[in-house]
């Protein structure tokens, strides 16, 4: 033991190191999220949190479940590849957030330091409650012009008009039927249009 005769201070120092390392391990255990490092240098649980975001566009399959007549008509016309929600907007519409309690003084103070995340709006679901929740019918004057207003930047083969010259301000659906926009499909009622097979 003569080697360690005067080494007491070294042992104390080593003990301090061990203690500090243990404290580090304990702190690390509580500070680092459980899933950190599962797939890489990030929190794997974040993937699930991001995937849990509510979807608002339901996809055309959801619409076609009930509106198969429209889907049929559309599939024969020029708008076959335009999805329902491209014109009608997202199926799930956000409810206006109402009845939020007014923040008290403390909450407002905290909000100064840590701004609160905006509340996720509740979603109205026309697909679940078709009678009471009706999507807004788009105004064709605005809607059609978004795509079909003439511009040199648009592909040459794409049908384009100068709305003022083309219709004198009349709404497009006076002549065109949006689901199958050829002219005779518009003039005829739905059944005749279907029989005629729409217009290319």
């Amino acid at each position: 033991m003569s080697v360690f005769k005067d080494a007491g201070h070294l042992f104390r120092f080593a003990g301090l190191f061990v203690l500090a390392f243990l404290i580090f391990l304990v702190v690390r255990h509580y500070v680092v999220p459980k899933s950190f490092g599962q797939y890489g240098h990030y929190r794997a649980a974040a993937l699930g949190e991001i995937a849990a975001h509510p979807a608002k566009f339901a996809g055309h399959e959801t619409c076609e479940g009930c509106h198969s007549d429209v889907a049929d008509k559309k599939s024969k016309g020029k708008h076959a590849h335009v999805n329902c929600e491209a014109c009608h907007g997202a199926l799930f519409q956000p409810l206006p957030v109402t009845g939020q309690p007014k923040p008290n003084l403390y909450e407002r103070f905290v909000a100064l330091i840590v701004p609160p995340a905006p509340p996720d709006p509740l979603l109205l679901r026309h697909a679940e409650d078709p009678t009471s929740v009706k999507p807004v019918l788009p105004d064709t004057t605005v809607l059609c012009a978004r795509c079909h207003t003439a511009s040199t930047a648009k592909p040459k083969g794409f049908p384009q008009v100068v709305p003022a010259d083309h219709s004198n301000g009349m709404p497009c659906d006076t002549c065109h039927q949006p689901h199958s926009p050829g002219m005779d499909a518009a003039a005829a009622p739905d059944a005749t249009a279907k029989a005629a097979g729409g217009v290319k």
Binding site: P33, K34, S35, F36, Y39, G40, H41, Y42, R43, A44, A45, A46, L47, G48, E49, I50, A51, A52, H53, P54, A55, K56, F57, G59, H60, H79, H81, V82, N83, E85, A86, C87, G89, A90, P115, A117, P118, D120, P121, R146, C147, T149, S151, T152, A153, K154, P155, F158
Partner: protein
């Protein structure tokens, strides 16, 4: 507590199953979705884009993107005849000096072009979901990352809002969310693609100019498309491994 052999034989497998369930964590993701089966990207077919702004509006609705900020936006490029006839220096070269506009991200369309000469075209832009992304490399806390399925995501609970990634992105696709004060960007609609839906911008695109592609899926039409078309990514010289593939991309696009 005294356990006999019979009780032990029942208890041990039960404990093993329970432990397995604990280890599995919280599988909030779609149960039928395997990350390793996918490698997501997007195909943007420029000759099909009509600049209607449907994608920008759809993205804003789907992802609660604040006004004035964009996860995707549409630019209109104009290369004039004069530039094409005078390519002498960098300021007049048609490849280096196009005029680009994107009013409100192209959300409400574009003004009528006054100069009819030259060529005009629309270029939708978004996060390129780079396989070797500069934005994820600079994050000091590991709050942004390339997911195992190739989507670049932000962990908004972990993000400090230091904005290093906003500066690092060569495509300008990130911003600091004005209310949450953390980095925000396109998630490639991760909440949709993990459930088998396409992204909101692809769903809303009326001409099919945008298509979600899964480069790991052998049945995806992208493979046939790549065989028959000349496809380019933005800023290939940055070697970011961008996965937003552009068909018909003009050399002037940056």
């Amino acid at each position: 507590m005294n356990l006999n052999r019979r009780q032990m034989l029942i208890l041990l497998p039960a404990a093993a199953i329970a432990w397995k369930a604990v280890l599995a964590g919280t599988p909030e993701e779609a149960p039928n979705y395997t990350m390793s089966d996918h490698w997501w990207g997007m195909l943007i077919d420029i000759p099909k884009c009509i600049g209607c702004g449907n994608c920008v509006r759809a993205c804003q609705t789907e992802n609660n993107v604040p006004d004035g900020y964009f996860r995707t936006w549409v630019e209109r490029y104009h290369v004039s005849d004069w530039e094409m006839k005078n390519p002498q220096d960098i300021m007049t070269n048609p490849l280096t000096d196009p005029q680009v506009i994107s009013p409100d991200g192209g959300k409400e369309g574009f003004p009528v072009d006054t100069d009819a000469s030259g060529k005009y075209f629309f270029v939708p832009k978004m996060c390129n979901h780079c396989a070797d992304s500069p934005c994820t490399q600079v994050c000091p806390v590991g709050a942004t990352f390339v997911a195992p399925d190739g989507v670049v995501l932000v962990d908004q609970k972990y993000c400090l809002g230091c904005a290093y990634c906003v500066q690092a992105c060569p495509y300008g696709c990130r911003y600091i969310h004005p209310e949450k004060r953390v980095a925000d960007k396109c998630t490639l609609c991760y909440h949709r693609i993990t459930k088998g839906l396409t992204t909101a911008c692809c769903e809303a695109c009326p001409t099919g100019a945008r298509q979600l592609v899964d480069l790991k899926n052998p049945k995806d039409p992208i493979h046939e498309f790549l065989k028959t078309h000349s496809v380019q990514v933005l800023k290939p010289q940055m070697a970011t491994g961008a996965k937003v593939l552009y068909n018909g991309l003009d050399g002037s696009v940056r």
